[in-house]
Symmetry: C3
Subunit: 355 residues, 3 copies
């Protein structure tokens, strides 16, 4: 008898601690991909959209949007890690490395960090660390993720899951990807915002004002752009027989929209240095309109850099709920309109360098 | 207290006559953008789709479609000019300059020409002139637009608006962008039409036959392609509370579809030289099927050119109404199926040069 | 009176046997096109997605997906051949030639092979042979198609149509496009499948597991990507007055999805060498979820090649019907969920070369 050729994903029992999985699906970035991401997310940051602007900062071309890079390195893991997942409980500790340009090829691998009992006997908890690299082997993105995965056989024990085991927030010392950059020629006329690092205050809250509705077709196209193959994003027939009844948008798409909406108020945050943590509070169904607001959590000086500062930010994205009054995430288990809390570090020019 | 970081657009009182606004959002054209525009609009003109054909005419690559260039230079102005607009009353006097190729970066600025009382006390009329340039500073598109913008405070006077203050139609002498072009190698087999400048007659009417339905997702993608950030195109939640109840398609998308549909009957109109005037008669909602027909208004010889002629054309686009009987625009205030009257100059080879 | 400028397609009487029609609509392939095809079809084969992988096999870049090349050369013929068609009864005998890369320009021409009575007096049967070439004149795809086309005047005779006149399946000797290729550096970690030519057995059946739902917007975008201009794919207003009531997805899109889904189980089938025959059993309407399974029909050695083998495959695509139990096509005239039977030859590395 011939061996089974197709693959339906790993059960919990199929993982081994410390195992390293090399993911199929290496993907060469193209200008088409950058453009398609632009029209799906609505990003308008000039570093990612205007080549002369990017070159003036020291990039050799427009780098791909950071969230796009993250999502590709996430999508590449889905077939191996989460095809039989119940849920991604969280991800974070994400650091961005070398910029990715059109023509670069992204390939990912994942180390299984730990295997633990899950909250029910039917699932186990898998903690992983994924690294995306370019064709030269340089790290472009590195992140942690933990996910509950179906077991073949029920377990004898369960565990209460805690978010405490999240990696700590990324520190200023861990920030990468600044080599060769200079803010000397940063042109705020092109970014459309006059507000630099010095102008933001800890505790300041920024409404990003404009909302954006998600469509079925677009959510599916976005998921495919990142090579995410999980059926809940594609297969309406399958989903109609589940309690959710319909397809759900890939959580990564909500992260991308949130970053894109933040342009209005954070127009000079030219790149993300980290995603400390993304907390998805509920599923997002196509048809929802996404709004967002951001709080400045911390201002970070970057060791060795006089012209680039960092802001630790928490963006909150809602559905069908404008954010003029800064709606907070409800307590765990309470209903609400908040879809996402996104903690990240944004890079922004320092004013002192413009003197 | 910190300064407000996000921006919700200018009120009428925020504009000053003769003010020049440098718009954020410089955008580098990519092949991805050209391809995406092709699949959203359906354009099939070989100058924009087939590189060997474009090179044979003297272009150094396929130029971006003219309507796409116009829409980018329009989209870039929205955040500064029309976020608080009630309506764009019209635009025209549009001249195309240097061709735009993949790799070129488009950046726009707008001069405020005049500020006048509006038709109600709540709005004022803003007339502007926008110029889009490439990275070398060369003009790629230049156009006029007038728009009613909300006032902070009600005005004491109102005015009856008239279309008479439109710029005059663009003349043959104003046509640009012909340097280095030759029709010697124009291959009508590739364009699919045998009809050149001599074959069209003033008063001739051409049905473009095939219709095209607009989808929500596509209209939104198109608006993002042009960086148009106006909420009526994206925000279904917001629109559900307005009298329109739902999102509307960006008027520029209707212009693009009309030009694309015109290929069937005007297959050798290889570029647009002007948009004299676009008159949008009603909102277009996704779900509508667009049809179009065109009348030849004037035949223009171009000073100094023996192998390129110009046709002044008026295209009429309808919704859910095939155009075999050439439906005219109804009188002002009358209901009807006409969405758009588009007056423009098209460039087309002259037969005499084929001898 | 001026000549009719627009074109509504040929009637049966407008064709002549042995006539060769040079199609308008030459199209330059772009990276944007490849990316857009990737996100519309979901293809994940690394030859088409990862440039270093493609180069390691001897390609000079990622070649365009074979189905995309076929669909472009199909779409280019629609205006000339099938605008007045009732139905494409079948196509096949399709051979792929030179790989197509971004920057290449595809142009097609069609020879009318025969004109015969149709199954009713209102239509005639047109058999054609289409060849797509690149800008150097090299064949990139060649295929046969037969289609029933409306007559201007009813015929006096009809004929019972038979599928027997299909071209024979493509033979191993007819396989093209292998020049300069070597499997020496084929990396199965990147393809994600360990299964090579030796591992497949005649009669083996493979469920591709994951399904994919088609959206209106996406189906329309896909049809435009291939320059297919047939109104049933675009014009919802027109279709609402037909017995079908709504738009149908372009059959070529179903072929593309089927090939893309086959990645799960046939991950090393790096290119298609032929499409022997595609049999479409019913219309596909947006909203359907497509599943697929494949049977290995024959294992072919390729003359002169020691490291590339060929598999003759039959893929069956269904709507809203997972394929774990390998649903067969029903007998002619019987209802069922099968949309497509696709017979083709796939190229796959031979294990012996890895020694």
């Amino acid at each position: 008898m011939t061996e089974q050729k197709s693959f339906s994903g790993r059960y919990f029992e199929d993982f081994q601690a410390n195992q390293v999985i090399y993911h199929a699906g290496a993907l060469t970035a193209t200008e088409g991909m950058a453009t398609l991401y632009r029209v799906l997310s609505g990003i308008r940051f000039p570093t990612q959209c205007a080549e002369p602007f990017a070159r003036a900062l020291g990039y050799r071309d427009c780098p791909l949007d950071d969230v796009l890079v993250f999502k590709i390195a996430f999508g590449q893991t889905v077939a191996d890690i989460s095809m039989r997942a119940i849920a991604t409980l969280g991800y974070g500790g994400c650091v961005f490395g070398e910029p990715v340009y059109s023509g670069d090829t992204i390939q990912s691998e994942t180390e299984i960090i730990s295997l633990e009992p899950g909250p029910t006997k039917d699932v186990g908890l898998v903690r992983v660390h994924t690294t995306g690299r370019n064709q030269h082997g340089a790290m472009v993105v590195s992140y942690y993720r933990w996910v509950t995965v179906r077991r073949r056989m029920p377990a004898t024990v369960t565990a209460v899951l805690s978010a405490d085991s999240l990696p700590p927030p990324v520190s200023a010392e861990q920030i990468q990807g600044l080599d060769g950059l200079s803010m000397r020629n940063y042109d705020t006329r092109v970014s459309g915002s006059q507000h630099l690092w010095e102008d933001y205050e800890v505790g300041e809250r920024i409404d990003h004002v404009v909302g954006c509705t998600i469509e079925e077709s677009e959510a599916m196209t976005a998921a495919r752009l990142y090579q995410n193959v999980a059926p809940p994003h594609y297969d309406a027939h399958f989903m109609s027989s589940t309690p959710l009844e319909r397809r759900i948008a890939f959580v990564g798409h909500i992260v991308g929209l949130t970053r894109a909406l933040s342009y209005n108020g954070l127009g000079n945050v030219f790149r993300m240095a980290s995603i400390d943590r993304a907390r998805h509070l509920q599923h997002t169904f196509p048809g929802a309109t996404i709004y967002a607001w951001t709080e400045v959590v911390e201002k970070l000086a970057i060791p060795g850099s006089t012209d680039i500062g960092a802001l630790r930010l928490r963006s909150t994205a809602t559905k069908n709920q404008p954010c003029g009054d800064f709606p907070p995430a409800p307590a765990a288990g309470q209903p609400g309109d908040v879809l996402l809390e996104l903690d990240y570090i944004g890079l922004i020019p320092r004013r002192t360098t413009k003197a």
